[in-house]
């Protein structure tokens, strides 16, 4: 698995074997393919980009081309064991609505995101070099998410944390994660 995305490895370990998995914003399908190969899951994906959807198909995955925010409402309650949203929540227009839907269609939801409260990000904000992407980066509008904001959102949605891992590079962070962790993976479920 790609070393630049240590959160994906953590996610693989959080998914029970043979689970029914829905990966929202599954990209080229590398996480789903890994889950199918190593955890024997029944995987489904949703992806917005046509070339990525075709890449998923070439890995033998079943993927629906489309928008995450529109697609979830069609699934009945509890259709999946796990619904994954890896490093995508910052790009959503209605992240809370999606998280709520994830907890409805899945027994549990796994969400990973980059920590906007990491000390480097805070430093960039303080020294005036901006905390988000620069004009030149070409990234779409991206939300900055800190751990406390995320916890607040979970509370608001009445979701409880079943497991969480804070990451710095490929390693885990246990002390002062809101400052030291670059990314986090949360497994949550309806309280």
């Amino acid at each position: 698995m790609n070393s630049s995305r240590p959160d994906l490895e953590i996610i693989v370990h959080m998914v029970p074997a043979s689970a029914r998995v829905l990966d929202l914003g599954c990209g080229d399908g590398r996480l789903l393919a890994e889950l199918v190969a190593n955890r024997n899951v029944q995987g489904r994906g949703v992806e917005m980009d046509e070339a990525n959807v075709r890449a998923c198909m070439s890995k033998g995955l079943s993927v629906r081309h489309g928008n995450i925010e529109e697609g979830l409402k069609d699934f009945p309650d509890g259709m999946f064991d796990v619904v994954i949203l890896s490093q995508t929540v910052a790009y959503l227009n209605r992240p809370l609505g999606v998280m709520q839907e994830m907890a409805r269609v899945g027994r549990s939801a796994i969400i990973s995101f980059e920590n906007a409260g990491h000390w480097k990000a805070r430093w960039r904000a303080v020294c005036g070099c901006g905390s988000g992407n620069t004009l030149a980066s070409g990234q779409p509008r991206v939300r900055s998410i800190t751990f406390s904001q995320f916890q607040e959102a979970l509370q608001q949605l009445n979701l409880q944390v079943e497991e969480r891992v804070f990451l710095r590079g490929p390693g885990r962070v246990s002390r002062w994660p809101s400052l030291w962790a670059e990314a986090a993976v949360f497994r949550v479920a309806k309280a």
Binding site: S18, Q42, R44, E50, R54, M57, G60, R64, F75
Partner: protein, 417 residues
């Protein structure tokens, strides 16, 4: 190297019960096959044609043919539907005019062509007749049913009518229920045929056929197959054989000449009554008919699906494929969906063969891998709830069970007390 094929015919002297309640007998089907059926008889792919298609999907009938079959770009050795690997079948629909029983066939009761006494057929009836062909070819189940437009409707209908005979369906540029817009775009061409005095309520066989009406019908069709963008690119405002406007009603724009050419050419190979019957079958297509919800149509479906739509297709726009995919997913069916970005409009399903080939290869490989052996063994999300609980959450399901037993024990205790 040209692939030489021959159209074959099979006649069934038995009654085909139609959706309308009417019957048809005898039923002749024209069909072509490509490639070789394997020993397990498990590599058959049925390609279903659209409104104006026929059984001649690929290859040439002779070396002198000007053009190959209608989907030659996608069917053949090494192509999307690889005839080195698969046994491909394509048959002319009933109601058609290219070798299968239709309104131009002889009505055995009168000894004359049916004309409008031919019963109205539906997509489900076309599929029913095709199932007889599979029986005749001794093919228990299909690796895949596929087609675009009305061909996609048949592929869908196959998965619904014969869940145990279809391992996968590849549906292109189609819909699960024909929209008002499509019905309208079928009705105007029909009106053009009715308005041709030669049509004569369908009684024109042996006389001058309603070619003017049929040509207009085809022209309207051609407009709906293109997109605004592809028309602009293909013709723009260019003039044909003229430098400047003539201020008269001659054919002067290239687009006019294109439509006229295709309209006229169509009359040489197509029967106006067949056009009426087949467009009617398209209009009647609605898998949600008699059901509360479209999703209810797919409760018994076992096939895996790949649904493709094309971004500039306004005859069967992507939203209609998305509606279909939602209904499939709601049933836990293994379905993939791709909206292919293309400027070619509805015609894109015939033209965008490169991406089609890539997706088809990947999809068929998956279907072969995951449904090998008996048909309908598709893994799906609807497996028994209890079995899944035990597999995925062994502890929780054990706990739930024991709790249940304790409760039961409590009840028994109380009962015996």
């Amino acid at each position: 190297m040209a692939m030489i094929v021959h159209t074959q015919q099979v006649t069934f002297d038995q009654e085909l019960r139609l959706q309308s309640g009417a019957t048809l007998r005898p039923v002749t089907l024209a069909y072509e096959t490509y490639g070789t059926l394997n020993e397990n008889r498990s590599n058959a792919i049925l390609i279903c044609h659209a409104l104006s298609g026929d059984a001649h999907v690929a290859g040439q009938h002779s070396l002198h043919d000007r053009k190959p079959g209608w989907w030659d770009d996608a069917v053949g050795p090494g192509k999307a539907f690889d005839t080195d690997r698969y046994f491909v079948i394509c048959s002319n629909v009933i109601g058609g005019c290219s070798g299968s029983t239709g309104p131009s066939s002889i009505n055995p009761e009168t000894g004359r062509p049916y004309g409008l006494s031919f019963p109205v057929v539906t997509v489900a009836d076309m599929v029913e007749a095709q199932s007889w062909l599979l029986d005749a070819l001794d093919i228990p189940s299909l690796l895949c049913t596929t087609g675009g437009s009305m061909g996609g409707m048949q592929a869908l209908q196959w998965a619904v009518s014969y869940p145990n005979r279809v391992r996968s369906a590849l549906v292109l540029a189609s819909t699960a229920r024909t929209s008002a817009q499509t019905i309208a775009l079928n009705e105007v061409p029909r009106q053009a045929i009715y308005a041709d005095p030669n049509w004569n309520e369908g009684e024109y066989y042996g006389k001058e056929p309603p070619n003017a009406g049929l040509a207009v019908a085809r022209m309207i069709g051609h407009i709906t197959y293109l997109s605004e963008m592809s028309m602009r690119e293909k013709f723009g405002r260019r003039l044909q054989e003229r430098e400047r406007y003539g201020y008269d009603f001659a054919t002067e724009f290239e687009v006019e000449s294109y439509l006229k050419y295709h309209g006229n050419r169509f009359t040489a190979r197509f029967d106006a009554n067949s056009f009426l019957y087949i467009t009617k079958a398209i209009d009647y297509f609605d898998l949600s008919l008699g059901r509360g919800d479209l999703a209810d149509a797919f409760t018994d479906v076992k096939a895996k699906f790949l649904v493709l739509s094309y971004s500039s297709d306004w005859l069967y726009p992507p939203e209609q494929s998305e509606e279909l995919v939602r209904a499939l997913l709601r049933n836990g069916i293994d379905a993939s969906y791709v909206e292919i970005k293309s400027d070619y409009g509805h015609d894109a399903f015939l033209l965008e063969v490169e991406r089609l080939a890539e997706l088809t290869r990947d999809f068929l490989a998956k279907v072969e891998r995951e449904t090998s052996g008996a048909s309908g063994s598709a893994e799906d999300l609807t497996a028994s709830h209890e079995a899944r609980e035990e597999k995925v959450y062994p502890l929780a399901s054990w706990a739930a069970k024991t709790r249940g037993e304790w409760r039961l024990a409590d009840v028994r205790k109380r009962e015996t007390a």
